[in-house]
Assembly symmetry: C2
Homo-oligomer: 350 residues x 2
C-alpha cells in the first residue's frame, strides 16, 4: 500500500473539494500502475459529489476520464509497458463471468461493475478513488491504450463523454449518408457531432440556442435545427434516421420523436431523471423507438480510442489547475465550458 | 352505385348507433364485392364513434374486422373468386407508391392510407363506411384470404386485434424459448398470448387481476404475473426478452421496463394517450427500448391469417345481433367481454 498520495476530494456532500491524501493499493499480478497526467471533469462527478443519486460514499475522490503513463506492471501483464500512454474510464473491474461481461458489456455486469470511484475495492479495505490524484492502480482488463498521435490532454474526456456518444452511434449502426440528429451541445453533444460526422452521417445539431450554430458547424454539424422554431421542426419532421439525445434533465420528448423516420430510434444518454409524459401515439404511428445507452464496454472503448486515433478526434477542452476545481464545477453547472474541463495533474504534483 | 344498403351507424358523436342506409360504390376494375357475414367490435370503433380522437366524420358506419364471402369481382381481379372466404381490416386503400407502401407497410402510407371507415373514398363522392353493414366493395390489394379451416365468425377479430399483436411479435423476432410478457388480458392481450404461445415462447400474462389467471392459462400463458405483487415483480426483474404492452390508457411504465432484459424491447400497441413520466435511467441501465407498433401491412396480415390457419388460431368471441350493438359498446367500456364481440350480420339482413 502506498500512503499519502496527493488528491483532491470531498469529505461530504456539502463540502467544496479540498486537498486530501489517499492510500493506493499495492500492484497485484494483473495490475497496471499509472502516473496520472490529465483527468477530465464530468458532470456526473458533480452529481456524485453532491450525492444527487443517493449512493455516494465519502471521502470521495472523483474523476473517471483519466489519462496517464504506465509506471510499472504486475507479473501477469504483457500488453502494457512502462511509459505507454493509457487511459481509465468509468469502470476499474467487473466479475468477468456473467453474460454481460462475456458479451463485452461490463457496464451492465450482473454482479455489479467496480466503478472508478465509490465502489468497494476488491484488493484493499477501502472504496475506489477516481482520477483527481497523481497515481492509480488498475486491473489490466480495464486499462485502455491511447493512440500516441492524438493530443494527450484532450483525450481524457474520450474515456466517458467519448464512449457514451460513440457506443449508441455504433450500436444503432449509424452509417454514411444517414441523417443523424444530436440534441444538446455540451460535453456529450460536441463529441456526438464529431463522431457522427466521422462516420459519414449528415449531422444536424438540434439546440434551443441559435448562438451555438457557428460552433456546431465548426465541430462538424452540417445543419443546425433550432428546437424552438416550430416551422423548422415541422420541416424536419419524419426525416431522421437516428437521434442522439444528450439533454441532461427531464424534458418534452414528443417534438423530438416526431423528427424520427419510420422505425427509427432516439437514444437517451443524458437524462436519468423522470421524463415528461409523452404520447404513446408518437411511437405507434411510425413504429418508432426510444432507448437508453450507458457508456460502453471495455472492448468498445478501445475501438472508440482507435477510431479517434484514425480520425484524429479529441474533445474540445479548457485546461485548469487542480486548485481551481470548485470554480470549474460552478461553471459546469452554469453550462459555461466549451466543452470539457481537464485538470492538468502536474498542478497537483508540484 | 348501390343505394339503400342496410347498415348501423352514428349520426353524431353523442348518438347511440341506429339503423341507417348507405350508398355503396359500383364495382371498379380492381374491386372485390363482399357479402359481409360477420364484423368484430373493436374498442377503437367506440373511440371513433365518440370522436375521442377529434377526427371523426358523420354519419359514421364503424367496423374494421370484416369477414364475408366474395359475391363478384372486377375485370382486373384474378386472385379472388365468387364464394371465397375473405376479410377486410383497418385499411381499404393507400397510395401504393410511397416508400412505406413499397415496404409493405401501408399502415404508414406517407400520403395517408384510406381507412375502412371515415376516409375519403377514391371512387365516389362520400367517405368510406365500415363493416356494420351487409355489403362492401374493396380494392383487391386490400382484401385478405381467410383459411377455410378456421371458424369464420371467430376469424373477424384477427383483422385488427390479430394483426396488431402478431406484427410486433414478428417484427421483434420473438422465437422459441423467448420469455415473452403480455400486459393486459383483453381483446388485444388474449390474441398476444395465443400468438406468442404458437411461436414457441414462454408466455407470461402480466395483469392486475388475479381472477384472470385461469383464463390466461387456458389461452396459452405458461405463467401469470400479478403486477400489483411487488415481490413477484422483483423476482421477474430483468428476465423478459420481449414485452407486448396492450394497456389501452396512460400508465406507469417504470415497473414494466424493469422487467426487461438488457437490450430488450417493450412495444406499446394500446396506449395512444400521454404516458406517465418514466425515468430515463430505466432505459439507460441495460440499454432497453420502448417502441410502438400499429396494426400491420397487408402482406403481413395475410401471413398472420395463414399462420392462424396453420395453428388453428382464432379469437375468443361472444356473438351478438346488430340491434344489440349499443349494449355491447357499454360492456366493452366496462371491460366485460371475453374477449371480442362479433356481430352476426344475418341479424341485419333479415
Amino acid at each position: 500500500m502506498k500512503e499519502n498520495v496527493k488528491a483532491y476530494g470531498a469529505k461530504d456532500s456539502k463540502a467544496d473539494l479540498e486537498p486530501m491524501t489517499i492510500n493506493r493499493r499495492d500492484i497485484q499480478k494483473d495490475d497496471v500502475e499509472i502516473d496520472i497526467t490529465y483527468c477530465g471533469v464530468c458532470h456526473s462527478d458533480i452529481h456524485t459529489v453532491h450525492n444527487d443519486w443517493g449512493n455516494s460514499v465519502y471521502p470521495m475522490i472523483p474523476g473517471h476520464e483519466i489519462v496517464g503513463r504506465v509506471v510499472s506492471v504486475g507479473d501477469g501483464v504483457t500488453d502494457f509497458k512502462e511509459g505507454q500512454l493509457v487511459g481509465v474510464g468509468c469502470m476499474v473491474d467487473s466479475c468477468q463471468t456473467c453474460s454481460a461481461c462475456k458479451d463485452d458489456m461490463e457496464q451492465f455486469c450482473e454482479n455489479g461493475a467496480t466503478m472508478t470511484y465509490g465502489s468497494k475495492d476488491k484488493h484493499m479495505d477501502d472504496h475506489t478513488h477516481g482520477g483527481y490524484t497523481t497515481s492509480i492502480v488498475v486491473d489490466k482488463e480495464f486499462v485502455l491504450s491511447i493512440p500516441e498521435n492524438i493530443d494527450e490532454k484532450a483525450a481524457a474526456p474520450l474515456l466517458c463523454a467519448g464512449i457514451t456518444t460513440y457506443s449508441p452511434l455504433k450500436n444503432w449502426k449509424v452509417k454514411k449518408g444517414d441523417k443523424v440528429g444530436v440534441i444538446g451541445l455540451g460535453g456529450l453533444g460536441h463529441m456526438g457531432v464529431k463522431f457522427a460526422n466521422a462516420m459519414g452521417a449528415h449531422v444536424v445539431m438540434i439546440t434551443t440556442s441559435p448562438d451555438k450554430a457557428d460552433d456546431a458547424e465548426r465541430l462538424g454539424a452540417h445543419e443546425v435545427l433550432i428546437s424552438k422554431d416550430k416551422d423548422a421542426m415541422k420541416k424536419h419532421q419524419g426525416s431522421f434516421d437516428f437521434i442522439l439525445n444528450t439533454i441532461p434533465v427531464g424534458h418534452k420528448m414528443d417534438p423530438y420523436i416526431a423528427l424520427l423516420k419510420r422505425d427509427a430510434t432516439m437514444v437517451l444518454v443524458g437524462s436519468v431523471e423522470p421524463l415528461d409524459p409523452f404520447n404513446g401515439a408518437g411511437l405507434i404511428m411510425g413504429r418508432k423507438r426510444v432507448a437508453g445507452s450507458l457508456i460502453g464496454g471495455i472492448k468498445e472503448t478501445q475501438e472508440m480510442l482507435d477510431f479517434c486515433g484514425e480520425h484524429n478526434i479529441v474533445s474540445d477542452v479548457e485546461m485548469i489547475d487542480m486548485k481551481d476545481i470548485n470554480t470549474a464545477y460552478k461553471r459546469v453547472m452554469d453550462n459555461d465550458v466549451k466543452y470539457r474541463f481537464v485538470i492538468d495533474m502536474a498542478s497537483l504534483k508540484n
